[in-house]
Symmetry: C2
Subunit: 202 residues, 2 copies
């Protein structure tokens, strides 16, 4: 593991455990056994480091999705699997999972909002790609791809947020396991309705 | 207007303009030309008063919905109209509209969360009633009514929140007019997919 990887790995652990606000660059550098100036030479700020952690988790999550999708040809099945992997990924990708909690977008922290926007853009592009494919394959009715991808993204995100809030804590590391069954079932229901809503009928 | 009505009317104006946190019982009592003890004799706390304002707005919004629904027999049309009136109501019911913003649920304020829960329960009951009716009339496929009502509620709520957040301000009184066109169009799209997803086909 090179130094950048070590920092990312350590930062990811700290952010997962204590959240963005409570994690300090001080603690990360100490845990990496490097000086603070060395840490800042790699990542100019805590925001930059957090962004890199989110990017890493998103990339890893996309790899899981790619594996789960191998061999699948039906576009609606692809979207259903995508949603299922997103739910399962809460166990592994705590920062993405907790990212939609108040520390991020609801505090209107501009840097956080920018990280959220670029994360979301990449997810919506994947979803839009599936919808485009489904329309081309005559599996879906012609819909506005961008709008429909946005709806699918939001639907999955709000169910996650809602189940998290109802659990009384947005601390994912404490309660990911306990919320996943309910979250899976609700997400599956919502995805089913969504897909029925755009699948072409004869 | 009796004194309770005067207080409610005044409080609604203050909460709309300054939000929950910045509104004080002091200012409301001054504006009503009553003493603070008199105000507290009517509403035991600011939370109680805010709850009463939310209840009032929800009741008024339900009246608008009932008027818009008169003569409509198709259940899917009813749900589409319900969603449309909810969007339009942002102009009139600023507290309900802004209610899902960070001052309320995302600050994990327990009292606020309770107000939100009872508001939402009533909305979901209305939606569930429509879905039940649609299934009985053979218009909708048999679905889990409670879960499906929850999905519909969340779908409308998240689109509202998302458009609000993207507008850069959750101050509804400032930007309700400017966000309503986009919100209407996105909500209409989402509702169309949802309804297509549960409408029975032959």
């Amino acid at each position: 593991m090179d130094r950048t990887e070590l920092i990312l790995h350590t930062a990811r652990k700290h952010f997962s455990r204590y959240g963005y606000t409570k994690t300090t660059m001080e603690e990360i550098s100490r845990d990496c056994k490097i000086t603070k100036p060395t840490l800042y030479a790699h990542f100019a700020s805590k925001v930059e480091l957090f962004k890199a952690v989110i990017d890493l988790e998103q990339q890893k999550c996309n790899e899981d999705i790619a594996i789960a999708l191998s061999g699948i040809t039906s576009t609606s099945e692809k979207l259903a699997i995508y949603a299922r992997v997103q739910v399962e990924s809460l166990r592994k990708f705590i920062n993405i999972g907790g990212f939609f909690s108040r520390q991020a977008i609801f505090d209107y922290h501009p840097d956080m909002y920018n990280i959220y926007k670029s994360y979301r853009k990449r997810e919506e592009e994947f979803i839009a790609g599936c919808i485009y494919e489904g329309i081309r394959a005559n599996e879906f009715t012609p819909v506005n791809i961008e709008t429909t991808a946005g709806i699918f993204y939001l639907l999955i995100a709000i169910i996650k947020l809602d189940v998290l809030l109802a659990s009384g804590s947005d601390n994912l590391i404490e309660n990911a396991e306990s919320i996943i069954p309910e979250l899976s079932s609700k997400t599956e229901n919502a995805v089913k309705i969504f897909l029925q809503g755009i699948i072409k009928r004869n």
